[in-house]
Amino acid sequence: MRRLTWFNATSLTLGFAFLYIPMIVVIIYSFNESRLVTVWGGFSTKWYGELLQNEAFLDAAWVTFKVGFFSSIIATILGTMGAYVLVRGGRFYGRTLFSGMIYAPLVMPEVITGLSLLLLFISIGLDRGLFTIILAHATFSMCYVSVVVSSRLVSFDRSVEEAALDLGCTPFEAFRLVTLPIIAPAVISGWLLALTLSLDDLVIASFVAGPSATTLPIKVFSSIRLGVSPEINALSTILIGLVTIGTIMASLSTKRAVMRRERAERMAEQAG
């Protein structure tokens, strides 16, 4: 049944053209000599140079990097704990509330999350800035990490954990030596997801960031409101490039891991 009919070929071509043409246009125009964004004035990389000298953008990028780094680490730790509690926690008081609080932020509109966190920070008198953005990002990303990790925890064979406990491991040792290596790929993809969400977030950050901390999306948003500019094209191209490299590398490494596992299984079969 897997044949490429003309209908499928057309829908794939048109579909991917729709998804990719706008981004490709941005990339092409980032190398435009002219300041006018609709006229091609020859090839140039000068906008990249201007971007790298723009202190406001560099500062915002540094803030975004710090927020992403810390919030994704906190989110990964809390999210993995949350997944473990959901899947292995057994019964405890308020379990339904807990799973509700894990799943609700995934569908909560960003404007509501942002507004509610801002009102919390104001009512407890916490100064808004880097720290509040980290808290906010860690909170919503930990739920995504929990979902990713718990789907892995559900699917793996629990008896290996029990074997480790029978052989004299403490629960923490069993987690560190047996469970963690098994769920590690899910933890890593959860962490990558948390990092991407944090680097990407505009709405929640604009609520909880004070005047002292401007993240890159906030800065980009305020300059986009003034219209298309070659510097933003250059910045977009850099970000699209980073994401492309990252995604391709991630998919290659999963492919390699699958191939390695298949080879190991074949060798084990032959040996046995």
Partner: protein, 298 residues
């Protein structure tokens, strides 16, 4: 219950209580308060120092005035209605565009599939803001779309697309399309090809087999995709404020402006509470669909 198990549960539990549930209760409380020229700009505030009497005093001052205001001022219910309409129509267009792509992917040669999958996931990981930005240049008066349509001879002079509701539809469809494609692809790829062959052997035409087998069997994916587009589109703020015009009413944008431009925190909070109430229905339906999908797999 040992200490280790307690702390394992308590840390994420109290984190979410403190930074998710309590903030939302604060929103709810402020939605029942009145606007005031003070810091914070609403009244009453809870005076814990006055003890129980202070709490009773605080409760007696809360009322539903802001909700009554939302019902009388037509800006708000028009925003709600137009958000629902925009989200609904864009979800439908997403389905019309996303299904053929997912179908094409699922029927493509096996060795192409990882690459096609990568091509759908890539926009998914790319910054949302940048993807919306990339449309601004295309949709503007002298942008590529107008130039292309004029080159085709379909239009004589450039259309105004940017800063209208049409641009908002295009923006939502463009940015949320991968959310529609992925769940539909996931159900189509599991579809047993022999069912279609059997249908054809038994005299079904290709189209008939498609409507009677492929579509019903991919229903769960279609539903999941529709909710994954509809729910975030309803509260969308970035797309209407960058691509829409001043007359584009969407509730996420109204809330943001109420909070930042008018500084009316109680009304902004009331808007948030109603938005959540509207969202509860699709969220519950979505979770029920997910559960059904999980049960079908086991």
């Amino acid at each position: 219950m040992n200490l280790r198990r307690f702390s394992l549960i308590a840390v994420p539990y109290f984190w979410l209580l403190g930074l998710f549930l309590i903030p939302f209760l604060i929103v709810f409380k402020i939605s029942l308060s009145d606007i005031a020229l003070s810091i914070p700009p609403y009244t009453p505030t809870l005076e814990l120092s006055e003890g129980w009497a202070g709490f009773r005093d605080f409760l007696s001052q809360l009322d539903f005035e802001n909700f009554e205001f939302l019902a009388t001022d037509d800006l708000y219910w028009k925003s709600y209605l137009s958000s629902v309409q925009i989200a609904f129509i864009s979800t439908f267009i997403c389905l019309l565009i996303g299904f053929p792509i997912a179908y094409g992917m699922a029927n493509a040669p096996k060795e192409w599939q990882p690459t096609l999958m990568l091509l759908v996931i890539l926009p998914f990981w790319t910054s949302f803001l940048i993807r919306v930005y990339s449309l601004i240049g295309i949709l503007s008066q002298e942008g590529m779309l107008n130039q292309f349509l004029m080159w085709l001879g379909l239009i004589g002079e450039p259309l105004t697309i940017l800063n209208t509701n049409v641009a908002v539809y295009i923006g939502i469809v463009y940015t949320y399309c991968p959310f529609m494609i992925l769940p539909i692809y996931a159900t189509l790829i599991k579809l047993d090809g022999s069912l279609l062959e059997a249908a054809e052997d038994l005299g079904c035409s290709r189209t008939e087999a498609f409507w009677r087998i492929t579509v019903p069997l991919s229903k769960a994916g279609i539903i999941a995709g529709c909710f994954l587009v509809f729910i975030p589109a309803l509260g969308e703020f970035v797309i209407p404020s960058l691509l829409g015009g001043s007359d584009t009413l969407m509730i996420g944008k109204t809330l943001f402006e109420e909070f930042y431009n008018n500084r009316d925190w109680p009304v902004a909070s009331a808007v948030a509470v109603i938005l959540l109430l509207i969202l509860i229905i699709p969220i519950v339906l979505y979770q029920r669909n997910e559960q059904k999908m999980m049960e079908a797999e086991t």
